[in-house]
Each structure stands twice: as structure tokens, then as C-alpha cells.
């Protein structure tokens, strides 16, 4: 018993010569993986148009219900959120919204430094969320792979899409 106590004292003493594991935070920043789940952004497709189609899937998936948005439609046929609001004081950075999103619009980023003195400032509007680039997925453009017709791209013109067939014209 005594031997084991002395051994554990020796083992602890040896830690004096180990490197500290602490990251001296404000001066030193820890490495965060590119897919770290931090502050949420809304990305744009390669042409610079908003990716979000206001499908509400993220809002449904969100466990603490902190996403709120309203759909509107552009004259050119695109769907867009009229407003898009994330309440970061409730967000748990779970990433389920990113999983649910069919258009890669909503993405989590490796940034966690979002303290505020006023709780109200934790509510981010669309202007705060929207970035100018495509985020993690550079080439993806939802309307170029989806069947929805928009201005300049009719049904059947998307990538890997066949011309639509008028079922009534089939002579069976």
C-alpha cells in the first residue's frame, strides 16, 4: 500500500517536466477543424445567388427551435427567404440544420467568438448570416441540379436531367 502511494507521488512529480496541455487562449488559438461546428452562415451558389430556398427543413430539424424564416418568391421563379433569423442565444451548435438543408445553404463554421453584452444582439438576421461565397461546397448550385424551372433554365435543362415527357402523348 505504501509503495503504491509513493509510486503515485513519483508519477505525479514527473509531470513537472511534461508540456502543458493548456492553450493560452486569447494569445494562442486552438486549431479548429474545417468542419468544426461554430457560428452559422448562409452561403451563396457559385453565381452569387442565395442558396437558401426557404424550405423550412432546418427550422423543423432544429432541436431548440431557434431558426425562424419566411418564404418569398422572386419574379424569376426562385424561392428565397424574406427574412431569416437565428437566435444564437438558444442555438446549441448541433449542426442538424446543416444536415437537413437540401441546398447546402446553411453551414456551420469554425468560429466561436460571438460574445455580446446585450442578449438581443445574439439574434442574427439574414444580413448578418449571409456571406458572399459558397462556403464548404464550391461547385454546388441547387437550381442546376433540381427540376424546378426558373428564369433562364426551363424544365429538363438541368444537369443530368432528361427532357420532360408529356405522358398524354404516349401511344401505348
Amino acid at each position: 500500500m505504501i509503495a503504491s502511494q509513493i509510486r503515485s507521488m513519483w508519477l505525479v512529480f514527473k509531470h513537472l517536466f511534461r508540456r502543458n496541455v493548456t492553450v493560452q487562449y486569447p494569445e494562442e488559438k486552438p486549431y479548429l477543424a474545417p468542419r468544426y461546428r461554430g457560428r452559422i452562415i448562409l452561403s451563396r451558389d457559385p453565381n452569387g445567388d442565395e442558396r437558401c430556398v426557404a424550405c423550412n427543413l432546418c427550422a423543423v430539424a432544429c432541436p431548440p427551435d431557434c431558426i425562424s424564416l419566411q418564404k418569398t418568391e422572386d419574379p424569376d421563379g426562385r424561392w428565397r427567404p424574406e427574412y431569416f433569423r437565428i437566435n444564437f442565444s438558444r442555438c446549441i451548435m448541433c449542426g442538424l440544420c446543416e444536415d437537413a438543408c437540401p441546398t447546402y445553404a446553411i453551414q456551420l463554421t469554425p468560429d466561436f467568438e460571438m460574445c455580446e453584452y446585450d442578449r438581443q444582439n445574439m439574434v442574427y438576421e439574414k444580413e448578418d448570416l449571409l456571406i458572399d461565397g459558397p462556403g464548404k461546397y464550391h461547385d454546388y448550385s441547387f437550381y442546376q441540379v433540381a427540376g424546378k424551372a426558373i428564369k433562364g433554365k426551363d424544365k429538363g435543362q438541368a444537369n443530368n436531367e432528361a427532357e420532360p415527357i408529356n405522358v398524354k402523348s404516349l401511344n401505348l
Binding site: S8, M9, H15, N20, V21, T22, Q24
Partner: protein, 318 residues
């Protein structure tokens, strides 16, 4: 005549200020060392290497609300923390730090120190009782039981030293160690006193009176502000006192080659304090019944064997 009074006053205030300052610095030193032993830096933000942390803590303690619960026994509640600090500081008076430094030269110095460190436990019992809180009371009870059982062989383990030097005077004990430190002939006594010393100062692994996962904070659950600070400083004073006593009684006090005596004394004491902190970093806390069993069934017989063997051998030689 005037100069001798000045020297005495200088001695008194020097020792007083040095010990209180050291206890305060130890609050930082301990956290720093614990940090290093746990692979982290410890408090390193305030001032160079975090040394001003002590001052920051003091400011915090002074400006915190000093809350006294309505249900407490107020006079006792206020008095309790002062006891531990006062007794520990008084006990330092008889510790000889070098041939010229040291406040009092009592011929019963050893008994005086033991008595003072026993009185210190009143602070904890009374603090626990006056808080009128069940956790505090349990902590106080544990402190009482622990002190009663560890005091017994703490005294007994020192009798070997007293027999070999033929004196209760700490200065004479140090002088008797000029050739061999008492740790060599009195190794058993050293071990027993070391363990009893930790138990006396209620440090981990013997900190059952304040075992935080069972008793919130034990006897000082209801204390805050500077009253809590006094318990805290009292504990560190106790650590320094026990380390200084072990140095005096077993490690030859100020004796050592080359360096001046006071430096040797400080080095030895600092080394022992570091070992106390290492113990805290490394060892888990025993269960309460294990603590008692260990005291009565292992330590007490050991100290008795040591006492008898020393007495027998001394008589044989004489």
C-alpha cells in the same frame, strides 16, 4: 539596552510579517505547483508569472459580501476564524530559524507548539458548530475526532527526539543535531510525525473535515469574505508551521554547509512544503473509518515501538 529591545522587536515583526506573507504567497505557489503537476500552467495572468494573483485574491476577499447567516451563533461565528490564525502565528514564536533569529526561547517550546496546534482545532469545531448547518457541524465533528486521534501519536512520535536531545527547547534540539540529523536515528518518528502533521493541518489526503464531495465545504460552508480567508491563511500557516517543525526536529534545523543558516532553514522548509503540495496533487482522500483505523491501529503502535526502542537503546548506551 535600547538596541536589544530594537533587535527583539525587529525579530518579532520580521517573523510575523514573513510568515503571513509567506502564507499568502503560498496560496499562489500551491496553485501554480498543482497546475504544473496536472499539466497546466495554473494562475499565470495577474502580474509576472501570476505573482500578483495573491493581491487580486485579497482584493476580492475584502470586497466580497461578508455574509453572516441569521441562524448562526454570531459571536462564536465571528471569533472562530481568528483562533486558527492567532494560534498558528503564536506557535511560530518558538521556532528557531537561525542562531540569531527566533522570537522566544521557551524551555518547553515543543509542548507549546503542540498545545497551540491543538487549540487551532477549536477554530474548526467552533466554526462548524456556530454555523448551525449540518454539513459544517459534521465537518467540525470530524475535525475533532481526527485531531484527538492524531494528536496522541503526534506527541508520542516526538518523545524519541526529546529523549535523544534531552530537552524540550527547540533551539537545544537543533543544536543537538549538529552532527547527525535526527531523521537518521528517528526515521520511524519522522514518518509518524510527518503523517500526523498533515492530519493536524487538515491537508489532503486528510482533509475530511472539508471533504467537498460529501460535506460541500465542511466546517467553512457558511463562511465568506475575509472570514473564509482567515481559515484559508490559517491552513497555509499550519502547513508552513508543520514544515518548519519537521525541519527543526528532524532535518537539523539551520545546520548545513556553506550557505548561511537562515537560507538552509528556508530551503528545507520550502522543500517540505512542496512535498505537502505533491501529496495533495497525488493522493486520494481515505474514507473516514479508514482514517481512524490507520491512526489507531498503525500509527499509534508504530510510535509506541519507536518510543520503547529509543528509550531502550539510550538506556543500554548509558
Amino acid at each position: 539596552m535600547n538596541t536589544s529591545i530594537w533587535i527583539t522587536l525587529l525579530n518579532i515583526f520580521g517573523v510575523l510579517i514573513a510568515t503571513v506573507l509567506l502564507a499568502a504567497i503560498l496560496t499562489w505557489g500551491e496553485r501554480r505547483l498543482l497546475g504544473f503537476w496536472q499539466d497546466r500552467p495554473g494562475p499565470n495572468r495577474v502580474g509576472p508569472f501570476g505573482t500578483l494573483q495573491v493581491i487580486a485574491d485579497m482584493i476580492k476577499l475584502f470586497f466580497k459580501e461578508d455574509f453572516t447567516p441569521r441562524f448562526a451563533d454570531i459571536p462564536v461565528f465571528v471569533l472562530a476564524p481568528t483562533v486558527v490564525m492567532a494560534t498558528m502565528l503564536i506557535a511560530f514564536a518558538v521556532v528557531p530559524m537561525s542562531p540569531s533569529i527566533g522570537v522566544a526561547d521557551l524551555n518547553i517550546g515543543l509542548l507549546f507548539v503542540l498545545a497551540m496546534s491543538s487549540i487551532a482545532v477549536y477554530s474548526i469545531i467552533l466554526g462548524g458548530y456556530a454555523s448551525n448547518n449540518k454539513y459544517a457541524l459534521l465537518g467540525g465533528l470530524r475535525a475533532a475526532a481526527q485531531t484527538v486521534s492524531y494528536e496522541v501519536f503526534m506527541g508520542l512520535s516526538l518523545m524519541g527526539v526529546v529523549m535523544m536531545s534531552g530537552s524540550f527547547n527547540l533551539r537545544d534540539i537543533v543544536i543537538a543535531q549538529a552532527d547527525t540529523w535526527f531523521i537518521v536515528p528517528q526515521f520511524l518518528g519522522f514518518i509518524v510525525f510527518f503523517i500526523a502533521g498533515i492530519a493536524e493541518s487538515r491537508r489532503t489526503p486528510f482533509d475530511l473535515p472539508e471533504a467537498e464531495h460529501e460535506l460541500t465545504a465542511g466546517f467553512h460552508t457558511e463562511y465568506s469574505g475575509m472570514k473564509f480567508g482567515m481559515f484559508f491563511v490559517g491552513e497555509y500557516l499550519a502547513v508552513i508551521l508543520i514544515a518548519a517543525l519537521i525541519t527543526t526536529l528532524f532535518l537539523g534545523g539551520w545546520h548545513g554547509p556553506l550557505l548561511p543558516p537562515i537560507i538552509w532553514f528556508c530551503l528545507k522548509t520550502a522543500f517540505l512544503v512542496a512535498i505537502f503540495i505533491l501529496l495533495r496533487a497525488a493522493l486520494p482522500r481515505p474514507r473516514y473509518d479508514q482514517l481512524m483505523k490507520f491512526g489507531w491501529k498503525v500509527m499509534l503502535p508504530l510510535s509506541l515501538v519507536n518510543l520503547l526502542a529509543t528509550a531502550g537503546i539510550l538506556l543500554w548506551i548509558a
